[in-house]
């Protein structure tokens, strides 16, 4: 008699509200209370909500893809530059008289190429993904400047602008949609086989390979997915700002990876973390930045805070039993 052991899929609620997410949520509530106490007239207003939305929506959107990829152990530091490059290509195509959708198509094709480039270096050649994507980060910054010819490119699209600034019953539509995308991704990761494969591939590559999960292919696809999401993020930025600037996306990678790490992920191993944690992390970091803005504190404090958050988050991962360096 052959015994078949079927492991039950984890409860979806556990995916949505992991313990690190709960801690973050408590922090968020405290933060909002502090903000409300400090700036009672400015903080909890619909105007500030739309400011917050325009700052947080796109990083959150890219962070969702980056978080899924990180679950499988795929780190892509070039997401920020990719967003800038995607925006540059999109705006440049619009400037050359191409239609909206054709321009978006060209930009997405570029993103596919960049993703495949990163992926082949890391997956086929086994190069360190942190260093490879650092290389493509600087390379893409160069490409962005070349495409934009060192000036910002105007590209005002009424449709896209309205979409990014729309509100539904006082709630910014884009923020709501991105949040729903995050919830949906978290649920899909929990209930589908692909989701479990992704988590397994990041948790133990060798074991997953033996279990028949195509780890290499999966990681390749996730590199491409991250690049494509970053590119869409760049296009959304063009919609928001009506132009592609040369500095767009500089430093965005840490604005994305710091909250992901806050949400319980690890940069050096996959398999841990929850999407909703990453989403909450983005909200927390953007609320901090919003508060700094409202109180007109030197914006460079944001750099120091982000750096400290990364250090604290990776240290927390080591304490949780993550990979130790020696």
């Amino acid at each position: 008699m052959i015994q078949v052991v079927v492991s039950r899929a984890p409860w979806v609620g556990k995916q949505l509200l992991a313990s690190s997410t709960r801690v973050l949520l408590i922090g968020l509530v405290l933060l909002i209370a502090v903000g409300w106490r400090l700036e009672p007239k400015l903080f909890l207003t619909s105007q500030n909500l739309s400011v917050f939305s325009s700052a947080a929506s796109v990083p959150m959107f890219i962070a969702i893809a980056a978080a899924v990829a990180l679950l499988a152990g795929v780190v892509d530091l070039s997401v920020g530059s990719m967003a800038g490059f995607g925006a540059a290509v999109f705006a440049n195509c619009i400037g050359h008289g191409l239609g909206q959708f054709a321009s978006a198509g060209v930009a997405l094709a570029c993103a596919l190429g960049v993703g495949a480039f990163n992926a082949s270096a890391c997956v086929f050649f086994g190069a360190n993904p942190l260093v490879v994507t650092l290389g493509s980060l600087i390379g893409l910054q160069g490409l962005t400047l070349i495409v934009l010819n060192n000036t910002s490119e105007e590209a005002f699209l009424p449709g896209l602008y309205n979409f990014t600034n729309e509100t539904w019953a006082g709630v910014p539509a884009l923020l709501l949609l991105v949040f729903l995308l995050g919830v949906m991704t978290a649920v899909l990761l929990a209930v589908t086989r692909w989701g479990r494969h992704i988590r397994a591939a990041g948790g133990d590559q060798a074991a997953s390979n033996r279990a028949g999960i195509p780890v290499g292919k999966l990681q390749f696809c996730l590199f491409v997915l991250t690049a494509v999401f970053a590119c869409i993020g760049g296009i959304l930025y063009v919609g928001q700002d009506g132009a592609a600037q040369t500095t767009l996306g500089v430093g965005l990678e840490l604005q994305i990876y710091a909250p992901i790490l806050l949400g319980g992920y690890s940069l050096t191993r996959g398999g841990v973390g929850s999407i909703m944690g990453a989403v909450t992390g983005v909200v927390v970091l953007e609320v901090v930045s919003n508060l700094l803005d409202l109180r007109s504190i030197n914006p460079y404090w944001q750099y120091i805070i982000t750096g400290a958050v990364i250090l604290a988050a990776v240290y927390a991962d080591v304490l949780r039993g993550g990979e130790r360096y020696e």
Binding site: L134, G142, L143, V314, V318, R324, Y325, E326
Partner: protein, 338 residues
């Protein structure tokens, strides 16, 4: 032979002033000699193509520009090379540590004098390097992640502390930075000195051999009684020292310094080291080959400008070269494991 000694399984990996001598069938079998030849050929092609397309490139001015660029990148590479050989992965905080020490030098130079300025700059670099080392040893977090975060935080400090631009007064340090010795800038000679001392120190002192041992096989090194924590702090401190020296050299040849100036020094330094055959796995690498790598990497910006390209192309080229170098290294490690 060289492979079995220097591979990850070897107890005491060799450093390679002698890389070429132990080839199985003549020197060509050795990866060190192959890398060196490739770099020489690439460098010659780059110089040749630029020289043919733009004859004014083969002038004293362009070559001097390359030599100046080489000086700063070279000193940084010495530090990165020691880090990589000792298995410390990389230091991504180079832009801020170099920038902060350059700015420290500038401030002290304008208010006190040349010697205190140099000391202040070097001390500042050392401080950041030691901070990195202590953080890594204390938290046991991957050095790439730690230094990335330190760099980001440091950028904030750099911008808040120094604002926009910082003009430098004329001084003794400036005279040194802009002077020549036998037709080559003095600071380039200084860079060669740093590289020579570092290379000899690695292979001929106890500390150097310990660093190599830690990089080749950290577990074996630990069993032999070498303190990993001390080795890490020392190597990151040395990296900081090099960044400090590089910052002083940078300040000694500029009229104005601004916070973002040093951001494009990281990539040539890292790429030169990895392209010269230093493996990110640790334990192997050759300093004579490194000089070729530094030469190639510091020629790229000057020759691209001579060819009429904007500085953006330099960024693109550096990014692509880094990806290429890391892929090659990864491929070698993968093949070595099989």
């Amino acid at each position: 032979m060289a492979k079995s000694l220097a591979g990850s399984e070897g107890l005491l990996p060799v450093t390679d002033w002698s890389h070429g001598r132990f080839g199985k069938s003549g020197p060509w079998a050795s990866p060190g000699v192959r890398t060196a030849t490739t770099l020489v050929v690439l460098w010659a092609i780059l110089l040749g193509v630029t020289g043919v397309l733009d004859p004014s490139f083969v002038s004293d001015e362009a070559l001097l520009a390359i030599a100046f660029n080489m000086a700063v990148v070279g000193v940084l590479s010495a530090g990165v090379a020691v880090l990589v050989i000792s298995g410390g992965l990389l230091d991504l905080s180079i832009p801020t540590s170099t920038g902060l020490s350059a700015l420290c030098t500038a401030v002290v130079l304008n208010h006190v004098g040349s010697w205190p300025a140099a000391i202040a700059g070097i001390a500042c670099g050392c401080g950041i390097g030691l901070t990195n080392g202590l953080l890594i040893v204390a938290t046991k977090v991957n050095p790439i992640v730690i230094t990335l975060a330190v760099n980001f935080a440091g950028e904030g400090v750099l911008n808040m502390a120094f604002g926009q631009e910082f003009p430098l007064l004329k001084s003794g340090l400036h005279d040194l930075g802009l002077s020549n010795f036998i037709g080559v800038p003095t600071i380039t000679w200084l860079m060669f000195g740093v590289l020579l001392l570092t290379g000899l120190g690695l292979s001929h002192t106890r500390y150097g051999r310990r660093a190599i041992a830690v990089g080749g096989n950290s577990i074996a090194a630990k069993r032999q009684g070498i303190s990993l924590a001390r080795a890490r702090i020392a190597t990151f401190g040395f990296m900081g020292l090099c960044a400090g020296i590089a910052g002083v050299l940078y300040a000694s040849q500029s009229q104005i310094i601004s916070p973002g100036d040093t951001s494009d020094l990281l990539f040539p330094a890292i790429t030169a080291v990895i392209l010269s055959g230093f493996s990110l796995q640790g334990g192997r690498g050759s300093f004579p080959v490194l000089i070729l790598g530094i030469g190639l990497l510091s020629t790229i910006p000057t020759s691209l400008i001579a060819l009429g390209a904007t500085p953006d192309w330099t960024q693109l080229a550096q990014g692509l070269l880094l990806v290429f170098a890391v892929s090659l290294d990864g491929f070698r490690i993968k093949r070595g494991r099989r």
